[in-house]
Protein backbone atom coordinates (compact mmCIF):
# COMPACT_ATOMS: atom_id res chain seq x y z
CA UNK A 1 0.00 0.00 0.00
CA UNK A 2 1.29 3.41 -0.92
CA UNK A 3 0.42 6.54 1.08
CA UNK A 4 2.09 9.00 -1.24
CA UNK A 5 3.36 8.32 -4.72
CA UNK A 6 5.67 10.80 -6.40
CA UNK A 7 6.17 9.95 -10.06
CA UNK A 8 8.36 11.72 -12.60
CA UNK A 9 8.33 14.98 -10.62
CA UNK A 10 10.07 17.79 -12.48
CA UNK A 11 10.44 21.28 -11.10
CA UNK A 12 11.89 24.32 -12.83
CA UNK A 13 12.53 27.58 -10.98
CA UNK A 14 13.17 30.59 -13.19
CA UNK A 15 14.23 28.41 -16.10
CA UNK A 16 16.57 26.23 -14.03
CA UNK A 17 15.83 22.52 -13.64
CA UNK A 18 15.80 21.77 -9.94
CA UNK A 19 14.13 18.37 -10.06
CA UNK A 20 14.56 16.27 -13.19
CA UNK A 21 12.14 13.39 -12.71
CA UNK A 22 11.92 12.21 -9.10
CA UNK A 23 10.17 8.96 -8.19
CA UNK A 24 9.43 8.21 -4.54
CA UNK A 25 6.93 6.02 -2.72
CA UNK A 26 6.01 6.51 0.89
CA UNK A 27 4.34 3.72 2.82
CA UNK A 28 2.29 3.95 6.01
CA UNK A 29 4.27 3.17 9.15
CA UNK A 30 7.57 3.54 7.37
CA UNK A 31 10.23 6.22 7.51
CA UNK A 32 11.61 7.01 4.09
CA UNK A 33 14.94 8.78 4.32
CA UNK A 34 15.90 11.20 1.56
CA UNK A 35 19.63 11.92 1.50
CA UNK A 36 21.88 14.04 -0.67
CA UNK A 37 24.07 17.09 -0.58
CA UNK A 38 22.83 20.67 -0.41
CA UNK A 39 21.16 21.71 -3.64
CA UNK A 40 20.41 18.16 -4.71
CA UNK A 41 16.66 18.89 -4.53
CA UNK A 42 15.68 17.08 -1.32
CA UNK A 43 13.92 20.06 0.22
CA UNK A 44 12.26 21.07 -3.06
CA UNK A 45 10.79 17.58 -3.30
CA UNK A 46 9.24 18.04 0.15
CA UNK A 47 7.94 21.52 -0.63
CA UNK A 48 6.49 20.39 -3.96
CA UNK A 49 4.25 17.88 -2.20
CA UNK A 50 2.57 20.69 -0.27
CA UNK A 51 2.56 23.10 -3.20
CA UNK A 52 4.90 25.44 -1.31
CA UNK A 53 7.49 25.90 -4.03
CA UNK A 54 8.89 29.42 -4.37
CA UNK A 55 7.22 31.93 -6.69
CA UNK A 56 7.87 31.44 -10.37
CA UNK A 57 8.43 27.69 -10.22
CA UNK A 58 6.69 25.08 -12.36
CA UNK A 59 6.08 21.49 -11.38
CA UNK A 60 5.14 18.64 -13.73
CA UNK A 61 4.71 14.91 -13.20
CA UNK A 62 2.42 13.53 -10.52
CA UNK A 63 2.12 13.49 -6.74
CA UNK A 64 -0.65 11.04 -5.90
CA UNK A 65 -2.36 10.93 -2.55
CA UNK A 66 -5.40 8.70 -2.13
CA UNK A 67 -6.39 8.80 -5.80
CA UNK A 68 -5.83 12.54 -6.28
CA UNK A 69 -2.95 14.30 -7.95
CA UNK A 70 -1.79 17.11 -5.66
CA UNK A 71 -0.21 18.97 -8.58
CA UNK A 72 -3.53 19.46 -10.34
CA UNK A 73 -5.70 19.97 -7.26
CA UNK A 74 -7.56 23.31 -7.09
CA UNK A 75 -6.11 25.67 -4.43
CA UNK A 76 -9.02 25.22 -2.05
CA UNK A 77 -8.77 21.43 -2.14
CA UNK A 78 -4.99 21.64 -1.76
CA UNK A 79 -5.43 23.78 1.34
CA UNK A 80 -7.50 21.00 2.90
CA UNK A 81 -4.70 18.53 2.22
CA UNK A 82 -2.09 20.83 3.76
CA UNK A 83 -1.96 20.29 7.47
CA UNK A 84 -4.94 17.95 7.20
CA UNK A 85 -3.57 14.97 5.29
CA UNK A 86 0.02 15.98 4.66
CA UNK A 87 1.89 17.88 7.36
CA UNK A 88 5.37 19.29 7.53
CA UNK A 89 8.06 19.82 10.14
CA UNK A 90 10.68 22.40 9.26
CA UNK A 91 14.38 22.61 9.91
CA UNK A 92 14.67 25.36 12.48
CA UNK A 93 12.05 25.40 15.25
CA UNK A 94 13.37 28.83 16.31
CA UNK A 95 11.90 30.35 13.16
CA UNK A 96 9.13 27.97 12.13
CA UNK A 97 6.89 28.78 15.11
CA UNK A 98 5.38 32.26 15.28
CA UNK A 99 7.14 34.09 18.13
CA UNK A 100 4.09 36.15 19.11
CA UNK A 101 1.45 33.43 19.27
CA UNK A 102 1.01 31.01 22.15
CA UNK A 103 1.85 27.35 21.70
CA UNK A 104 -1.81 26.59 22.31
CA UNK A 105 -2.98 28.90 19.53
CA UNK A 106 -0.54 27.40 17.05
CA UNK A 107 -1.58 23.90 18.03
CA UNK A 108 -5.30 24.43 17.79
CA UNK A 109 -5.93 26.91 14.96
CA UNK A 110 -5.65 24.40 12.11
CA UNK A 111 -7.48 21.72 14.11
CA UNK A 112 -10.40 24.06 14.46
CA UNK A 113 -10.20 25.00 10.80
CA UNK A 114 -9.73 21.53 9.28
CA UNK A 115 -11.60 19.37 11.78
CA UNK A 116 -14.15 21.97 12.87
CA UNK A 117 -13.43 21.32 16.55
CA UNK A 118 -14.76 23.61 19.28
CA UNK A 119 -12.45 25.54 21.55
CA UNK A 120 -12.58 23.10 24.45
CA UNK A 121 -12.21 20.00 22.26
CA UNK A 122 -9.25 21.49 20.42
CA UNK A 123 -7.65 22.44 23.70
CA UNK A 124 -8.07 18.98 25.17
CA UNK A 125 -6.56 17.42 22.08
CA UNK A 126 -3.68 19.92 22.07
CA UNK A 127 -2.80 19.14 25.68
CA UNK A 128 -2.94 15.43 24.86
CA UNK A 129 -0.62 15.99 21.88
CA UNK A 130 1.84 17.95 24.00
CA UNK A 131 1.93 14.98 26.35
CA UNK A 132 2.45 12.64 23.42
CA UNK A 133 5.53 14.53 22.22
CA UNK A 134 6.74 14.50 25.86
CA UNK A 135 6.51 18.17 26.75
CA UNK A 136 6.53 18.31 30.55
CA UNK A 137 3.64 20.23 32.12
CA UNK A 138 1.42 20.19 29.05
CA UNK A 139 -1.34 22.33 30.61
CA UNK A 140 1.18 25.02 31.49
CA UNK A 141 3.01 24.75 28.16
CA UNK A 142 -0.27 25.36 26.30
CA UNK A 143 -0.33 28.96 27.52
CA UNK A 144 3.32 29.75 26.94
CA UNK A 145 5.18 31.23 23.98
CA UNK A 146 7.79 29.46 21.80
CA UNK A 147 10.70 31.54 23.12
CA UNK A 148 10.12 30.10 26.57
CA UNK A 149 11.19 26.64 25.37
CA UNK A 150 14.54 25.15 24.40
CA UNK A 151 15.31 24.21 20.80
CA UNK A 152 14.58 20.50 21.29
CA UNK A 153 11.30 21.28 23.04
CA UNK A 154 10.32 23.68 20.27
CA UNK A 155 10.88 21.00 17.65
CA UNK A 156 8.72 18.61 19.68
CA UNK A 157 6.03 21.30 19.73
CA UNK A 158 6.41 21.74 15.95
CA UNK A 159 5.93 17.97 15.58
CA UNK A 160 2.81 18.15 17.76
CA UNK A 161 1.52 20.97 15.53
CA UNK A 162 2.15 18.81 12.45
CA UNK A 163 0.32 15.84 13.96
CA UNK A 164 -2.66 17.84 15.23
CA UNK A 165 -5.03 16.93 12.39
CA UNK A 166 -3.92 13.29 12.22
CA UNK A 167 -2.24 13.50 8.81
CA UNK A 168 -1.36 10.40 6.82
CA UNK A 169 1.93 11.76 5.56
CA UNK A 170 4.56 13.71 7.46
CA UNK A 171 7.37 15.53 5.68
CA UNK A 172 10.24 16.28 8.03
CA UNK A 173 12.77 18.61 6.43
CA UNK A 174 16.07 18.28 8.31
CA UNK A 175 14.18 18.18 11.62
CA UNK A 176 17.30 17.67 13.74
CA UNK A 177 19.87 19.74 11.88
CA UNK A 178 19.36 22.89 13.94
CA UNK A 179 19.36 21.00 17.25
CA UNK A 180 22.11 20.14 19.70
CA UNK A 181 23.54 16.69 19.13
CA UNK A 182 22.37 15.70 22.61
CA UNK A 183 18.70 16.33 21.82
CA UNK A 184 18.77 15.05 18.23
CA UNK A 185 18.44 11.42 19.28
CA UNK A 186 15.40 12.18 21.41
CA UNK A 187 13.58 13.94 18.57
CA UNK A 188 14.42 11.11 16.15
CA UNK A 189 13.19 8.46 18.59
CA UNK A 190 9.99 10.46 18.96
CA UNK A 191 9.49 10.60 15.18
CA UNK A 192 10.17 6.88 14.85
CA UNK A 193 7.78 6.08 17.68
CA UNK A 194 4.99 8.24 16.27
CA UNK A 195 5.47 6.70 12.85
CA UNK A 196 4.99 3.21 14.26
CA UNK A 197 2.19 4.14 16.63
CA UNK A 198 0.10 6.23 14.21
CA UNK A 199 0.99 4.43 10.98
CA UNK A 200 2.40 7.64 9.52
CA UNK A 201 4.23 7.70 6.25
CA UNK A 202 7.28 9.82 6.99
CA UNK A 203 9.56 11.47 4.46
CA UNK A 204 12.71 12.31 6.39
CA UNK A 205 14.82 14.78 4.46
CA UNK A 206 18.37 14.92 5.77
CA UNK A 207 21.93 15.29 4.64
CA UNK A 208 23.06 13.35 7.69
CA UNK A 209 23.53 9.67 6.93
CA UNK A 210 23.98 9.00 10.65
CA UNK A 211 20.44 10.27 11.26
CA UNK A 212 19.30 8.21 8.31
CA UNK A 213 20.75 4.95 9.56
CA UNK A 214 19.21 5.50 12.99
CA UNK A 215 15.57 5.67 11.92
CA UNK A 216 14.94 5.12 8.20
CA UNK A 217 13.35 1.97 6.78
CA UNK A 218 13.90 2.97 3.18
CA UNK A 219 16.61 5.23 1.87
CA UNK A 220 16.76 7.26 -1.33
CA UNK A 221 19.82 9.19 -2.39
CA UNK A 222 19.48 12.31 -4.52
CA UNK A 223 21.99 14.08 -6.69
CA UNK A 224 21.42 16.97 -9.09
CA UNK A 225 17.66 16.67 -9.04
CA UNK A 226 17.52 12.92 -9.57
CA UNK A 227 17.11 9.93 -7.28
CA UNK A 228 20.25 7.91 -8.00
CA UNK A 229 19.66 5.05 -5.61
CA UNK A 230 16.69 3.79 -3.63
CA UNK A 231 15.98 0.78 -1.48
CA UNK A 232 15.84 -0.72 2.00
CA UNK A 233 18.23 0.97 4.44
CA UNK A 234 20.52 -1.99 4.97
CA UNK A 235 20.92 -2.56 1.28
CA UNK A 236 21.63 1.06 0.36
CA UNK A 237 23.94 1.78 3.26
CA UNK A 238 25.84 -1.53 3.32
CA UNK A 239 26.07 -2.40 -0.35
CA UNK A 240 25.67 0.87 -2.22
CA UNK A 241 25.50 0.46 -5.96
CA UNK A 242 25.83 4.02 -7.13
CA UNK A 243 29.30 5.58 -6.92
CA UNK A 244 27.79 8.78 -5.45
CA UNK A 245 26.25 6.87 -2.54
CA UNK A 246 29.59 5.21 -1.95
CA UNK A 247 31.42 8.53 -1.88
CA UNK A 248 28.82 9.91 0.54
CA UNK A 249 29.35 6.95 2.84
CA UNK A 250 33.11 7.13 2.56
CA UNK A 251 33.09 10.78 3.55
CA UNK A 252 31.64 9.86 6.94
CA UNK A 253 33.76 9.32 10.01
CA UNK A 254 33.90 5.51 10.55
CA UNK A 255 31.46 3.29 12.28
CA UNK A 256 28.76 5.91 12.48
CA UNK A 257 26.56 4.25 9.90
CA UNK A 258 25.01 0.76 9.90
Amino acid sequence: MTALDIAGLKVTIAGRDVLRGVDLRLEPGKVHGLAGESGSGKTMTGLAVLGLLPHGSRATGAIRLGGRDLLTLPPKELNKVRGGEVAMVFQDPATSLHPMLTVGRQLTEHMRHHLGLGKAEARARAVELLGKVRIPGAEEAYRRYPHQFSGGMRQRIAIAVALACSPKVLIADEPTTALDVTVQAGVLRLLRGLCDELGLAVLLVTHDLGVMSAVADEVSVMKDGLVVESGPRVQVLRTPEHPYTRSLLESLPDAEVR
Partner: protein, 353 residues
Amino acid sequence: MKPDATRERTGPRVPPLARFLVRRVLLAVLMAWGITLVTFVLTNLVPGDPVAANLGQRALGDPAIVAQWRAEHGLDKPLWQQYVLHLQGLLHGDFGTSQQSHRPVADDLAEFVPATLELAGAAILVSLVLGVAFGVVAALRRDRLADHTLRVVSLIGISVPTFWLALMAFYVFFYRLQITPGSGRVDVALGMAPPVTGLQTVDALLAGRWDIFASAAGHLVTPALVLALYTIGLLTRFTRSAVLEVLGQDYVRAARAKGLPGRVILFRYVLRSALVPIITVAGLAFGSLLSGTVLVEAIFAWPGIGQYAYKSATTLDLPAVMGVGLVVGVVYLAINLVVDVLYGVIDPRVRLQ
Protein backbone atom coordinates in the same frame (compact mmCIF):
# COMPACT_ATOMS: atom_id res chain seq x y z
CA MET B 1 25.85 38.41 44.75
CA LYS B 2 22.97 37.62 42.48
CA PRO B 3 20.47 40.37 43.25
CA ASP B 4 18.31 39.83 40.17
CA ALA B 5 17.62 36.19 40.76
CA THR B 6 16.70 36.62 44.39
CA ARG B 7 14.60 39.71 43.86
CA GLU B 8 12.64 37.91 41.19
CA ARG B 9 11.69 35.20 43.62
CA THR B 10 10.99 37.15 46.78
CA GLY B 11 9.25 40.19 45.22
CA PRO B 12 5.47 40.42 45.01
CA ARG B 13 3.95 38.66 42.03
CA VAL B 14 3.01 41.36 39.55
CA PRO B 15 1.79 40.38 36.08
CA PRO B 16 4.55 41.12 33.55
CA LEU B 17 2.39 43.46 31.46
CA ALA B 18 1.41 45.53 34.51
CA ARG B 19 5.02 45.83 35.66
CA PHE B 20 6.02 46.81 32.14
CA LEU B 21 3.30 49.51 32.11
CA VAL B 22 4.23 50.97 35.48
CA ARG B 23 7.87 51.23 34.46
CA ARG B 24 7.00 53.03 31.22
CA VAL B 25 4.59 55.47 32.90
CA LEU B 26 7.11 56.41 35.60
CA LEU B 27 9.67 57.04 32.90
CA ALA B 28 7.18 59.25 31.05
CA VAL B 29 6.55 61.36 34.17
CA LEU B 30 10.27 61.89 34.56
CA MET B 31 10.53 62.96 30.94
CA ALA B 32 7.58 65.35 31.33
CA TRP B 33 9.53 67.12 34.04
CA GLY B 34 12.50 67.27 31.68
CA ILE B 35 10.27 68.91 29.09
CA THR B 36 9.27 71.68 31.51
CA LEU B 37 12.96 72.38 32.10
CA VAL B 38 13.81 72.40 28.41
CA THR B 39 10.88 74.59 27.36
CA PHE B 40 11.66 77.03 30.15
CA VAL B 41 15.37 77.28 29.38
CA LEU B 42 14.84 77.49 25.62
CA THR B 43 12.22 80.22 25.82
CA ASN B 44 14.44 82.25 28.12
CA LEU B 45 17.49 81.75 25.93
CA VAL B 46 15.77 83.14 22.87
CA PRO B 47 17.25 86.51 21.94
CA GLY B 48 14.59 89.17 22.04
CA ASP B 49 13.10 91.20 24.82
CA PRO B 50 9.47 90.46 25.70
CA VAL B 51 9.23 93.97 27.10
CA ALA B 52 10.08 95.47 23.73
CA ALA B 53 7.65 93.14 22.00
CA ASN B 54 4.73 93.94 24.27
CA LEU B 55 5.00 97.60 25.21
CA GLY B 56 4.56 100.50 22.87
CA GLN B 57 7.26 103.06 22.01
CA ARG B 58 6.08 105.59 24.56
CA ALA B 59 5.86 103.12 27.41
CA LEU B 60 9.30 101.76 26.61
CA GLY B 61 10.75 105.21 27.17
CA ASP B 62 9.51 105.26 30.76
CA PRO B 63 11.71 103.13 33.08
CA ALA B 64 8.99 103.04 35.75
CA ILE B 65 6.46 101.47 33.38
CA VAL B 66 9.02 98.95 32.11
CA ALA B 67 9.99 97.97 35.67
CA GLN B 68 6.34 97.62 36.65
CA TRP B 69 5.61 95.44 33.62
CA ARG B 70 8.60 93.22 34.39
CA ALA B 71 7.51 92.85 38.03
CA GLU B 72 3.95 92.07 36.95
CA HIS B 73 5.16 89.17 34.83
CA GLY B 74 7.77 87.98 37.33
CA LEU B 75 10.64 88.84 35.03
CA ASP B 76 12.53 90.77 37.75
CA LYS B 77 13.36 87.63 39.76
CA PRO B 78 16.42 85.44 39.16
CA LEU B 79 15.92 82.79 36.50
CA TRP B 80 15.93 79.82 38.88
CA GLN B 81 13.20 81.43 40.99
CA GLN B 82 11.18 82.04 37.87
CA TYR B 83 11.51 78.34 37.04
CA VAL B 84 10.44 77.21 40.52
CA LEU B 85 7.41 79.51 40.38
CA HIS B 86 6.64 78.26 36.87
CA LEU B 87 6.81 74.65 38.05
CA GLN B 88 4.66 75.35 41.10
CA GLY B 89 2.11 76.98 38.86
CA LEU B 90 2.11 74.02 36.48
CA LEU B 91 1.42 71.63 39.33
CA HIS B 92 -1.70 73.67 40.10
CA GLY B 93 -2.73 73.83 36.47
CA ASP B 94 -1.52 77.42 36.17
CA PHE B 95 0.39 77.98 32.92
CA GLY B 96 0.85 81.71 33.60
CA THR B 97 -0.93 84.59 31.95
CA SER B 98 -0.61 85.36 28.28
CA GLN B 99 0.99 88.74 27.73
CA GLN B 100 -1.03 89.21 24.54
CA SER B 101 -4.52 88.04 25.38
CA HIS B 102 -4.23 88.82 29.11
CA ARG B 103 -5.99 85.53 29.73
CA PRO B 104 -4.61 82.52 31.58
CA VAL B 105 -2.59 80.45 29.11
CA ALA B 106 -4.46 77.40 30.41
CA ASP B 107 -7.73 78.89 29.11
CA ASP B 108 -6.19 79.67 25.74
CA LEU B 109 -4.82 76.13 25.47
CA ALA B 110 -8.16 74.63 26.47
CA GLU B 111 -9.72 76.56 23.62
CA PHE B 112 -7.16 75.81 20.92
CA VAL B 113 -5.83 72.35 21.75
CA PRO B 114 -9.06 70.42 21.03
CA ALA B 115 -9.26 71.93 17.54
CA THR B 116 -5.77 70.69 16.77
CA LEU B 117 -6.45 67.33 18.39
CA GLU B 118 -9.46 66.91 16.14
CA LEU B 119 -7.48 67.81 13.04
CA ALA B 120 -4.36 65.81 13.91
CA GLY B 121 -6.39 62.88 15.27
CA ALA B 122 -8.37 62.64 12.05
CA ALA B 123 -5.13 62.85 10.04
CA ILE B 124 -3.51 60.13 12.15
CA LEU B 125 -6.52 57.86 11.81
CA VAL B 126 -6.68 58.33 8.05
CA SER B 127 -2.94 57.82 7.59
CA LEU B 128 -2.88 54.67 9.71
CA VAL B 129 -5.78 53.06 7.89
CA LEU B 130 -4.72 54.09 4.37
CA GLY B 131 -0.97 53.78 4.92
CA VAL B 132 -1.15 50.24 6.29
CA ALA B 133 -3.76 49.14 3.77
CA PHE B 134 -1.78 50.56 0.82
CA GLY B 135 1.42 48.99 2.14
CA VAL B 136 -0.15 45.55 2.48
CA VAL B 137 -1.65 45.73 -0.99
CA ALA B 138 1.68 46.86 -2.47
CA ALA B 139 3.49 43.97 -0.76
CA LEU B 140 0.97 41.33 -1.81
CA ARG B 141 0.92 42.66 -5.40
CA ARG B 142 4.66 43.11 -5.53
CA ASP B 143 6.01 44.30 -8.89
CA ARG B 144 2.54 44.45 -10.37
CA LEU B 145 0.48 47.46 -11.43
CA ALA B 146 -0.96 48.16 -7.97
CA ASP B 147 2.52 48.16 -6.44
CA HIS B 148 3.93 50.56 -9.03
CA THR B 149 0.92 52.89 -8.73
CA LEU B 150 1.16 52.99 -4.96
CA ARG B 151 4.89 53.61 -5.16
CA VAL B 152 4.26 56.75 -7.24
CA VAL B 153 1.48 57.91 -4.90
CA SER B 154 3.58 57.42 -1.78
CA LEU B 155 6.60 59.14 -3.29
CA ILE B 156 4.42 62.13 -4.15
CA GLY B 157 3.07 62.13 -0.60
CA ILE B 158 6.55 62.07 0.87
CA SER B 159 8.12 64.67 -1.38
CA VAL B 160 5.45 67.34 -1.86
CA PRO B 161 5.74 70.07 0.80
CA THR B 162 2.71 70.34 3.05
CA PHE B 163 2.23 74.10 2.66
CA TRP B 164 2.14 73.86 -1.13
CA LEU B 165 -0.26 70.95 -1.01
CA ALA B 166 -2.48 72.87 1.41
CA LEU B 167 -2.56 75.91 -0.87
CA MET B 168 -3.26 73.82 -3.96
CA ALA B 169 -5.99 71.82 -2.25
CA PHE B 170 -7.61 75.03 -1.05
CA TYR B 171 -7.36 76.62 -4.48
CA VAL B 172 -8.53 73.62 -6.52
CA PHE B 173 -11.24 72.11 -4.35
CA PHE B 174 -12.65 75.22 -2.70
CA TYR B 175 -11.99 78.08 -5.09
CA ARG B 176 -12.16 76.40 -8.51
CA LEU B 177 -14.30 73.29 -8.12
CA GLN B 178 -16.22 74.51 -5.08
CA ILE B 179 -16.72 71.00 -3.76
CA THR B 180 -15.24 71.54 -0.31
CA PRO B 181 -16.17 74.09 2.35
CA GLY B 182 -13.73 76.92 2.99
CA SER B 183 -11.74 77.79 6.05
CA GLY B 184 -12.63 77.30 9.71
CA ARG B 185 -14.17 74.39 11.56
CA VAL B 186 -17.91 74.72 10.82
CA ASP B 187 -20.27 76.83 8.81
CA VAL B 188 -20.49 80.20 10.59
CA ALA B 189 -24.24 80.32 10.01
CA LEU B 190 -24.77 77.09 11.95
CA GLY B 191 -22.73 78.11 14.98
CA MET B 192 -20.77 75.73 17.16
CA ALA B 193 -22.13 72.72 18.97
CA PRO B 194 -22.30 73.11 22.76
CA PRO B 195 -18.77 72.29 23.92
CA VAL B 196 -18.32 69.00 25.75
CA THR B 197 -15.12 67.48 24.40
CA GLY B 198 -14.09 70.43 22.25
CA LEU B 199 -14.06 68.17 19.19
CA GLN B 200 -16.72 69.63 16.89
CA THR B 201 -17.68 66.37 15.23
CA VAL B 202 -18.08 64.59 18.57
CA ASP B 203 -19.88 67.49 20.24
CA ALA B 204 -22.28 67.79 17.32
CA LEU B 205 -23.11 64.08 17.61
CA LEU B 206 -23.57 64.39 21.36
CA ALA B 207 -25.96 67.28 20.82
CA GLY B 208 -27.75 65.35 18.07
CA ARG B 209 -27.05 68.15 15.58
CA TRP B 210 -26.54 66.27 12.33
CA ASP B 211 -26.30 69.50 10.36
CA ILE B 212 -23.36 70.69 12.47
CA PHE B 213 -21.76 67.25 12.29
CA ALA B 214 -21.95 67.20 8.50
CA SER B 215 -20.50 70.69 8.29
CA ALA B 216 -17.70 69.96 10.79
CA ALA B 217 -16.80 66.69 9.05
CA GLY B 218 -16.83 68.45 5.68
CA HIS B 219 -14.53 71.17 6.97
CA LEU B 220 -12.23 68.52 8.43
CA VAL B 221 -11.74 66.40 5.31
CA THR B 222 -9.42 68.56 3.21
CA PRO B 223 -7.02 69.82 5.91
CA ALA B 224 -6.86 66.36 7.50
CA LEU B 225 -6.06 64.69 4.17
CA VAL B 226 -3.46 67.33 3.33
CA LEU B 227 -1.88 66.81 6.73
CA ALA B 228 -2.05 63.02 6.41
CA LEU B 229 -0.58 62.66 2.93
CA TYR B 230 3.06 62.64 4.03
CA THR B 231 2.39 60.05 6.73
CA ILE B 232 0.32 57.95 4.33
CA GLY B 233 3.25 57.87 1.91
CA LEU B 234 5.74 57.03 4.62
CA LEU B 235 3.60 54.30 6.17
CA THR B 236 2.87 52.79 2.76
CA ARG B 237 6.58 52.39 2.09
CA PHE B 238 7.40 51.01 5.51
CA THR B 239 4.43 48.68 5.67
CA ARG B 240 5.30 47.30 2.25
CA SER B 241 8.86 46.45 3.23
CA ALA B 242 7.84 45.14 6.67
CA VAL B 243 5.19 42.85 5.17
CA LEU B 244 7.56 41.61 2.48
CA GLU B 245 10.12 40.74 5.10
CA VAL B 246 7.62 38.83 7.21
CA LEU B 247 6.23 37.02 4.15
CA GLY B 248 9.69 35.45 3.71
CA GLN B 249 9.79 34.13 7.29
CA ASP B 250 9.74 30.43 8.03
CA TYR B 251 6.68 30.67 10.24
CA VAL B 252 4.62 32.08 7.39
CA ARG B 253 5.62 29.11 5.22
CA ALA B 254 4.80 26.87 8.18
CA ALA B 255 1.37 28.50 8.43
CA ARG B 256 0.80 27.79 4.72
CA ALA B 257 1.87 24.19 5.30
CA LYS B 258 -0.84 24.00 7.97
CA GLY B 259 -3.45 24.86 5.34
CA LEU B 260 -4.69 27.98 7.09
CA PRO B 261 -6.86 30.30 4.96
CA GLY B 262 -5.07 33.26 3.38
CA ARG B 263 -6.79 35.93 5.46
CA VAL B 264 -5.85 34.18 8.71
CA ILE B 265 -2.24 33.99 7.57
CA LEU B 266 -2.30 37.68 6.60
CA PHE B 267 -3.87 39.05 9.75
CA ARG B 268 -2.69 36.63 12.41
CA TYR B 269 0.75 35.72 11.13
CA VAL B 270 1.98 38.48 8.83
CA LEU B 271 0.44 41.72 10.07
CA ARG B 272 1.10 40.96 13.71
CA SER B 273 4.83 40.73 13.14
CA ALA B 274 4.92 43.57 10.62
CA LEU B 275 3.17 45.88 13.11
CA VAL B 276 6.30 46.20 15.25
CA PRO B 277 8.34 48.21 12.70
CA ILE B 278 5.15 49.92 11.48
CA ILE B 279 4.22 51.40 14.86
CA THR B 280 7.83 52.52 15.39
CA VAL B 281 7.67 54.60 12.23
CA ALA B 282 4.10 55.67 12.89
CA GLY B 283 5.07 57.08 16.29
CA LEU B 284 7.84 59.15 14.75
CA ALA B 285 5.68 60.23 11.83
CA PHE B 286 2.89 61.45 14.10
CA GLY B 287 5.42 63.69 15.80
CA SER B 288 6.26 65.39 12.53
CA LEU B 289 2.57 65.46 11.64
CA LEU B 290 2.04 67.72 14.67
CA SER B 291 4.55 70.23 13.36
CA GLY B 292 2.70 70.17 10.04
CA THR B 293 -0.42 71.46 11.78
CA VAL B 294 1.16 74.93 12.10
CA LEU B 295 1.19 75.35 8.31
CA VAL B 296 -2.10 73.64 7.59
CA GLU B 297 -3.91 75.58 10.31
CA ALA B 298 -2.56 78.85 8.96
CA ILE B 299 -3.80 78.14 5.42
CA PHE B 300 -7.20 76.72 6.38
CA ALA B 301 -7.70 79.29 9.19
CA TRP B 302 -8.12 76.42 11.61
CA PRO B 303 -8.27 77.90 15.11
CA GLY B 304 -5.83 75.46 16.66
CA ILE B 305 -2.67 75.40 18.69
CA GLY B 306 -0.51 75.82 15.59
CA GLN B 307 -1.92 79.27 14.90
CA TYR B 308 -1.73 80.12 18.58
CA ALA B 309 1.93 79.05 18.67
CA TYR B 310 2.70 81.17 15.64
CA LYS B 311 1.06 84.27 17.10
CA SER B 312 2.68 83.77 20.52
CA ALA B 313 6.12 83.24 19.08
CA THR B 314 6.03 86.36 16.90
CA THR B 315 4.95 88.50 19.86
CA LEU B 316 7.42 86.86 22.27
CA ASP B 317 4.52 85.91 24.53
CA LEU B 318 6.76 83.69 26.66
CA PRO B 319 4.18 82.04 28.97
CA ALA B 320 2.09 81.11 25.92
CA VAL B 321 5.13 79.78 24.06
CA MET B 322 6.10 77.67 27.07
CA GLY B 323 2.54 76.41 27.37
CA VAL B 324 2.46 75.34 23.74
CA GLY B 325 5.90 73.73 24.04
CA LEU B 326 4.79 71.81 27.06
CA VAL B 327 1.58 70.58 25.47
CA VAL B 328 3.31 69.49 22.27
CA GLY B 329 6.05 67.82 24.31
CA VAL B 330 3.56 65.92 26.41
CA VAL B 331 1.67 64.81 23.29
CA TYR B 332 4.98 63.47 21.91
CA LEU B 333 5.51 61.64 25.18
CA ALA B 334 2.02 60.21 25.08
CA ILE B 335 2.55 58.95 21.52
CA ASN B 336 5.82 57.32 22.55
CA LEU B 337 4.19 55.78 25.59
CA VAL B 338 1.44 54.31 23.44
CA VAL B 339 4.06 52.92 21.02
CA ASP B 340 6.03 51.38 23.90
CA VAL B 341 2.95 49.81 25.41
CA LEU B 342 1.88 48.48 22.02
CA TYR B 343 5.26 46.75 21.68
CA GLY B 344 4.51 44.95 24.93
CA VAL B 345 0.98 44.07 23.87
CA ILE B 346 1.99 42.77 20.43
CA ASP B 347 5.21 40.99 21.28
CA PRO B 348 5.32 38.73 24.34
CA ARG B 349 9.11 38.70 24.19
CA VAL B 350 9.12 42.39 25.16
CA ARG B 351 6.88 42.01 28.21
CA LEU B 352 8.10 38.61 29.41
CA GLN B 353 11.68 39.49 30.09
